[in-house]
């Protein structure tokens, strides 16, 4: 057994999603127990891991850990198949708030012995983990720096998995499978372009570009991954990690690879309500085989197949006059009364559904009572809820558990949860109702539950600042210079506000310069850049007047740095850079250059030289009317003086 232990494949499952996509449900239930097609997510995960040849699993809980622990203990007692083939450990930590924290914790505790599988509890997949990990080890043999292999499933562009989650744009070396670029984008976003850095294409003989990948939230990791998280405290999510590694490949001496799953393998992650709906359907349609509606049970054939992908539990009672159209799953011991029509829905266990109810595209959890004559479409109803007579729920209504809804209530896109005082309260009464409807119109005939508002919330979780910055194509600015620029801006802004002596400011800038080891020409560049980037400018009504003011005040500082011919060129370059990057200077390049010319910071020759340069590399500034006008004026002026 001890010898075996070395070769056991380890998997780390992160039991929280760290986002609010399923709010308010995530406050009540841990994500692990969230039921997809009648089976808690954790059951799918454990079954797929044990089928995939994993020997040891670490479940890392951050919230509601005790509930998960209890559930796992119960299942171990029930002797589910995985409990014998796999060692399952539940770890809890209340301090972890992000995935990065979890990885640092794992590193600190030394939980992983070698290569391991990292996945979220929301991944549903039937892949052979052992084989994939072996493949990753082979990659590592070829490339010592390989830190992580990302697992993706390629699907067609029209597939709902792509449409309902944020797709990824991935550029990779076609020969080795090394990831060169990784970017998430929204398919319906206004900005339809993606910038592909040219060196990606130039440096590799063959580059593959993928735009239709489903991210299953599964990654194969080298032992170096947890230490990488520990070394870089700004890695909060897996995306941070990916972007961090891609940007600082040389510094961190690590790189990423990717694997596309074969056609007979299924992988997807429940990330929002839309993917939830798609995955439920996939499971009912048996696409994730051997994961199915019977996962997580030892005994099988608990459901009776009724054709058209309708399943009902063996002990459920269906009235003769009820109609199940398609894709309906009715849990055990549920009772469905007369004249009920159900389409594309999941009904949990022990539910009671009254007469003349119409249910479409909805998810009804366990122990729910729905009284007569209700109409429910595209909604979610949590455990133990009671829906009164003649209620109408539609357009993405989400009802958390234990809610007792009055008769004849009409809800459209509302989120309702039960407060601790057992009093109903409506949290957000359909603020984004219209938005959601638009969405549903766009996505053809398919209807989704869930609010668009929540879905856009997730953006902030996905892309923190660092990844946003990195997605800009022209950001190879190393960190130090950025910090230096920020410090110079800060010093100047403070100096301007408190009217400090310029000598002190020069001293301050110089000391910063030595602290960050900045070249002299760079200092020239950044001082001018900072002058034009002082925060006051962003709020100023008359930008030019303020610039003039600032410039006048900082005259000593400028003259200290901008003396020689080359420094003047640096200064002009800084002006160019600022005008391109700062929104408040847009279209004002000509005036600024004119100001510099008037205050004798720059001379005519350098200006002309700079203008030639601009023309040479076709800077967008050349086309700006203010610049054209200034140089026309300059030439006219010089002719006059001649």
């Amino acid at each position: 057994m001890d010898v075996d232990k070395e070769n056991l494949i380890q998997a780390v499952v992160i039991m929280d999603t760290f986002n609010n996509n399923f709010s308010p449900l995530n406050n009540i239930k841990p994500a692990a127990l969230f039921s997809v097609a009648g089976v808690p997510l954790i059951d799918y995960v454990l079954e797929s891991l044990s089928l995939g040849g994993v020997g040891e699993t670490i479940l890392f809980c951050c919230e509601n850990g005790s509930k998960v622990k209890e559930y796992i203990r119960m299942n171990k007692e029930k002797k589910l198949p995985w409990s014998l083939t796999m060692d399952v450990q539940v770890l809890m930590s209340d301090t972890c708030r992000t995935m990065g924290d979890v990885m640092r914790e794992i590193d600190a505790a030394g939980l992983v012995r070698g290569y391991f599988i990292l996945m979220g509890v929301n991944s549903i997949s039937n892949i052979n983990y052992a084989a994939l990990l072996e493949q990753h080890k082979q990659t590592c043999k070829k490339d010592k720096g390989a830190a992580m292999t990302l697992v993706y499933k390629k699907v067609s562009w029209q597939h709902p998995m792509i449409r309902s989650d944020k797709p990824i744009f991935l550029a990779a070396n076609a020969n080795t499978g090394k990831v060169l670029m990784h970017q998430k984008y929204k398919p319906k976003a206004a900005d339809k372009s993606i910038n592909l850095p040219l060196d990606i294409v130039l440096n590799h003989s063959e580059v593959k570009l993928h735009h239709n990948l489903v991210d299953a939230n599964i990654a194969l990791c080298s032992p170096s991954v947890p230490p990488l998280f520990s070394d870089n405290f700004d890695f909060q999510t897996r995306d941070d990690f990916i972007h961090g590694i891609l940007i600082n490949e040389e510094i961190l001496a690590s790189c990423l690879y990717y694997i596309l799953l074969k056609t007979d393998e299924y992988a997807a992650a429940v990330t929002n309500w839309k993917t939830y709906q798609v995955i439920c359907r996939d499971i009912i349609h048996n696409w994730a085989y051997p994961l199915s509606i019977e996962s997580g049970t030892f005994y099988q054939n608990n459901f009776i197949f009724m054709g058209n992908h309708n399943f009902r539990g063996k002990n459920s009672k269906l009235s003769r006059s009820c109609l199940l159209t398609e894709d309906v799953l009715v849990g055990d011991n549920s009772h469905i009364s007369d004249n009920v029509t159900i389409t594309k829905s999941v009904i949990g266990k022990n539910c009671l559904i009254g007469s003349n109810v119409v249910i479409t595209g909805s998810f009804i959890m366990d122990n729910v009572t729905i009284k007569d004559d209700c109409k429910i479409s595209n909604s979610y109803i949590g455990d133990d809820s009671v829906i009164g007579e003649k209620s109408i729920l539609e357009a993405g209504t989400i009802i958390a558990s234990n809610v007792n809804l009055n008769a004849e209530s009409i809800l459209k896109g509302a989120v309702i949860e039960c407060s601790s005082a057992n009093k109903e309260k409506t949290l957000s009464k359909s603020t984004s109702e219209n938005e959601w409807e638009n969405e549903s119109v766009n996505s053809e005939d398919e209807e989704f539950i869930g609010l668009d508002k929540e879905w856009s919330d997730s953006e902030s979780c996905y892309s923190s600042d660092s990844s946003e910055a990195s997605s800009l194509p022209d950001s190879p600015v190393p960190d130090d210079t950025n910090i230096f620029l920020q410090e110079v801006i800060d010093s100047l802004a403070r100096g301007y506000e408190e009217k400090l002596k310029c000598d002190y400011l020069i001293l301050e800038i110089n000391s910063s310069r030595y602290a960050y080891n900045i070249q002299l020409n760079e200092v020239n560049f950044f001082v001018v850049r900072a002058l034009l980037g002082i925060p006051i400018l962003t709020e100023a009504k008359n930008v030019l007047a303020t610039i003039k003011d600032i410039w006048k005040y900082f005259q000593p500082v400028v003259s200290n740095y901008i003396k020689t011919k080359s420094s003047i060129m640096d200064c002009l370059k800084a002006v160019e850079d600022s005008c391109l990057k700062c929104p408040w200077l847009e279209g004002k390049a000509g005036q600024i250059v004119h100001l510099l010319y008037e205050t004798d910071v720059v001379d005519e020759d350098s200006l002309l030289e700079w203008y030639e340069e601009l023309k040479e590399y076709e800077s967008p500034l050349v086309a700006q009317t203010s610049v054209v006008k200034f140089f026309e004026w300059l030439e006219a002026a010089s002719e006059e003086s001649d």
């Binding site: 198949p81 699907v155 056609t263 349609h285 048996n286 030892f298 063996k314």
Partner: protein, 364 residues
Amino acid sequence: MAPSESPPRELDSKHEDKIVKFVSDIRNGKIEGSNNIALTTLSLLEQIITECENATALELSGVVREVGRRLCRALPQELVAANMARRVLRAIRDEHRLLCEQSGGATSGTGTGTEGSGDSLQRLVLAAHGGRRTTLGAALPHLREPLRDHIAEVRAEIESCTASISSQARAHVHAAELILTHGASSLTERFLKAARRHTHYRLLLGEGPRVQESHAMAARLSAAGVPVTLINDASIAAVMSRVNKVVIGVRAVLAGGALLARAGTHGLTIAAKHYSVPVIALCPLYKLSPLHACDRYALSALDCPRPSMLYECGESSRVHVECPRYDVVPPDHVTLFLTNLGGSSPSYIYRLLSELYDPKDHQL
């Protein structure tokens, strides 16, 4: 509904672990093929019997029945596992009666002794119901030893059945015939290879749902010297008029002589019936199951729709793809079942069943 002799009983946790391990091995695909599953089920039952020390026949049969019941529920598709439990139950009954007779002969005077003596047919029939139940309870110390021999016999039978079925190939495949088979099966492959040793024939191989396996089998057969033509399932009906014989492997043979086989077989046998082409089903005896074809729940399992359609394409999210795993072929479509004891017609299956299993064990 089950005429069980004993109420559901608790198993030792040790035994439970073994069952769970066995079930997960099968689900993980570590044990594949009905032959292997039958053998491992036997070993599992043997181990459990060995560990039940000093058990009476009643207790033993109770344990075995419970194991069979659990396997049946956990692996409803693997009818073979339940069949093995039935075989062992039968063995317990037989051995017990035998022992009773022996001991009855030695210590004459007890009730059981007189019952077992004269073996007239009428006596056996009359005694069958009244007698056995009372006798199962008696503790017999030497039950396990002969039981082990019995299990070893069953095991030997299973191990040799492939050879004994393929040895009959000569009688069924003749020179220059065109044989049609469907999908890959190791037994069919052995059978066809054995036939090749005696005669030259041509083979048409319907691809079935698992195309890759069929292709691999076609490659192996053609390496063995059989001229193979692979055809699509859809064109089976078109070529059927030219076929001399259809040879198919089965998943299970059901009580009425119906058979359970890979999806697509039913279409094939309908075509064969239409053209009056004889259909030979290769079925080792361990695949005989006392279930009836009307038991829909056990038999209607849906498979993954992947072979018919790729998940990748956008249409997969808009259509219903129903892929049944097995087809039930009615008895009148089959000409001959070729078991390891020789050929028998579908109407004779009931007889084989009553020889193999005790009628009380049909429902575990």
